[in-house]
Symmetry: C2
Subunit: 113 residues, 2 copies
C-alpha cells in the first residue's frame, strides 16, 4: 500500500483559540512533547506514544490535535504515524509551539525530560 | 482608601495547562490584547476594557484570567484595575505570552490593530 499523507481539510484554517484549546490538556501536551522529540519525517505510531490512558482516549486526543492542525498523520498499512506540523504552526503562530514545548518540558517529571 | 494590590493565592502555582485554558477563549484573548497595550503600572478598569459581552460575562472572564495568574488587580475606591503579570509569566513560560499576543494581534480585525 502506498503511504498516504493527509492533513485535515481545516488544518490551515485553525485559529489561535482552537490551537490553544487543543494544547490545553495534559495528555495532549504530553503527546506534543513526545512528537517533538522524534524525527518529523518518520513520526510516531500510536503504539510508540507512551501515555497513561486507554487506547480510545489516546485516539480522541490525537484526533483533537489533528483537527486543530497541530499534527498530521500518514497511513502505512494498518498503522498511522503522527507528526508535529512544526513549519505550518511556526508560520501561523511564530514562537508559540516552541514556548509551549519549552514550558511543557520544564513541567514534565524529571524522569521524562 | 489605600490602593490595594493583590494577586490570587494560587497565581504562582498556575500550571501550563491552566494558563493555556485561560487563554483559549476569544473574549479572554481580547482582554489580554487590550491589557498588553496599556501601561502595566496603571492597568485598565472594567469600564476601560471594550468588549462585546455583558458586564457579568466580562467579570467571569476577568476572574478566569486572574485565577490562572495571567492578570492581577488592585482596588481603588469602588474600581478595580487589571493588568497583565508580564514578568511573572515570562519567568514561568518564556516567550509564551509574546507568542500568543503576536498571534492574537495578527488575527484581530484590522480596525482593532
Amino acid at each position: 500500500m502506498t503511504p498516504e499523507r493527509h492533513a485535515p481539510a481545516a488544518s490551515g484554517d485553525a485559529d489561535l483559540v482552537t490551537v490553544l484549546q487543543a494544547l490545553s490538556d495534559p495528555v495532549r501536551l504530553e503527546i506534543v512533547r513526545q512528537l517533538a522529540g522524534c524525527d518529523e519525517e518518520s513520526g510516531l505510531s500510536c503504539g510508540q506514544i507512551e501515555l497513561e490512558v486507554t487506547k480510545s482516549t489516546a485516539s480522541h486526543h490525537l484526533k483533537t490535535l489533528r483537527s486543530a492542525g497541530i499534527t498530521a498523520e500518514r497511513e502505512e498499512g494498518t498503522r498511522k504515524y503522527t507528526w508535529l506540523r512544526r513549519e505550518v504552526l511556526e508560520g501561523r503562530f511564530p514562537g508559540l509551539l516552541d514556548a509551549v514545548l519549552c514550558a511543557a518540558v520544564a513541567e514534565a517529571p524529571s524522569s521524562r525530560r
